[in-house]
Symmetry: C2
Subunit: 254 residues, 2 copies
């Protein structure tokens, strides 16, 4: 099949060479969600035409399938419930968002967070000790990114002897039905500058984050393919880990 | 006089060598305001002990005197009125804040701004054409730095073919009576990252800004001394222009 016709039919842009070799060794696929399977917006958003069927077909194949997202406006449970309402056959254990990974890191390092996140994400941290915080976690807090809330997170950080800032992703902006919206990366940069420090990113494109998904599938990087709409955080991040990465022409693709 | 005793009596830290030579050629002094002459806070804030008398003595000397500030929460007129209420003999023509410099730049380059600034600064831009904006100006907007307002400034910038962002200063934070507050530089960095661009700073430490004060005095850089509490924006900025710079031990000095 000539490249041009494949590109049109699958709506993907190859972001790397060596595709045929990859196809032969391919054992698993990792899909981004927002912009790839659905578009966010009012209510639950809308499924992208063909996406529900594509997930169904992948599940019927002998390929393993996981979903890797930087979504931080809802708990994993509520997020997956939304995907199911949109018509997707996706379960909680198949979906990897940053918040559960962050909770694992907190536990491992004995850290207690001050949270600057969306109200919808707060229940995910219900069981986490947040007294006398010794780190800050920033997520896609949207309307919660008030001057007062950002200043409060700043004061916690600047008051720590060894300030630690975790950012749940590093996106610049995303598209909703009513236009572009600033993403968490913008506020990560704001706090980095204010406190003269470097944040630790949990979520895509962190290699640790991709590796945890590979571990769950029991696959080596060259056996997996990442499909997303973000050239830096999906495609670039996957390639940095040794996976193949392809960019769809939906979502934020321009 | 030994260095130690001078340091204690004048409460300044020499930030450069060559002081004796500088004193011989000195014809003008530029003073920062907040943290040097007064501390900001509730109401008008408070004059720093000895500062009113120091300004009086400088005015009685044969040195020229100007005031150079990154204050952008009020118009120059209202800001100077506050200083006068605090007891300082300072007039509008002696004070150089970023906003009037920004208005000159807009005029020179035919730019119409979208403003993300403090309500108190808005009247300064009353006579400026703000229709169909082709640049963004960000100042110390404080509580006006809501998610919605920052997102609006971002959408203006990202929608421009040649986006131009002016930042009135680049400070990280400042101290008020009730604690540290995020400054304009933090939001400048946020917009820089969101739009992948570099802001043009108007105010300290911009060499153009310092030069405009020197021009007003008719002095060469080596004939002037800058006194401030910010090592980067006051002292470093002045030294970069060829002036002498000293840091006081009041204000944000730590």
């Amino acid at each position: 099949m000539p490249y041009g016709s494949r590109r049109r039919s699958a709506h993907i842009v190859m972001a790397d060479t060596g595709w045929p070799g990859c196809v032969r060794s391919l054992k698993g696929v990792i899909l981004d969600l927002c912009g790839v399977l659905y578009d966010s917006g009012e209510g639950d958003g809308v499924a992208i035409p063909g996406a529900i069927e594509a997930v169904k077909r992948l599940k019927e194949s002998d390929l393993q399938l996981r979903f890797c997202t930087n979504e931080t406006q809802a708990t994993r449970k509520n997020f997956v419930a939304k995907l199911q309402r949109l018509g997707f056959d996706i379960s909680v254990s198949e979906v990897f968002p940053p918040a559960p990974a962050a909770i694992a890191v907190l536990k491992q390092r004995g850290l207690r967070p001050h949270l600057l996140v969306h109200d919808g994400l707060l229940p995910e941290f219900d069981a986490v000790d947040k007294t006398n915080p010794n780190c800050v976690i920033v997520g896609d807090a949207a309307e919660n990114f008030s001057y007062q809330n950002l200043n409060e997170a700043f004061r916690v950080l600047i008051g720590l002897e060894r300030p630690v800032l975790f950012s749940l992703g590093q996106g610049r902006y995303y598209k909703e039905t009513d236009g572009l919206k600033l993403d968490v990366g913008v506020y990560m940069k704001a706090l980095e500058y204010a406190c003269d420090l470097k944040a630790e990113v949990i979520g895509k494109p962190s290699p640790t984050f991709f590796q945890s998904v590979l571990n769950d599938m029991g696959l080596k990087p060259n056996e997996a393919l990442m499909i997303g709409d973000d050239l830096v955080n999906d495609v670039g991040g996957a390639q940095y880990c040794g996976m193949k990465g392809v960019q769809v022409r939906t979502g934020k693709y321009r």
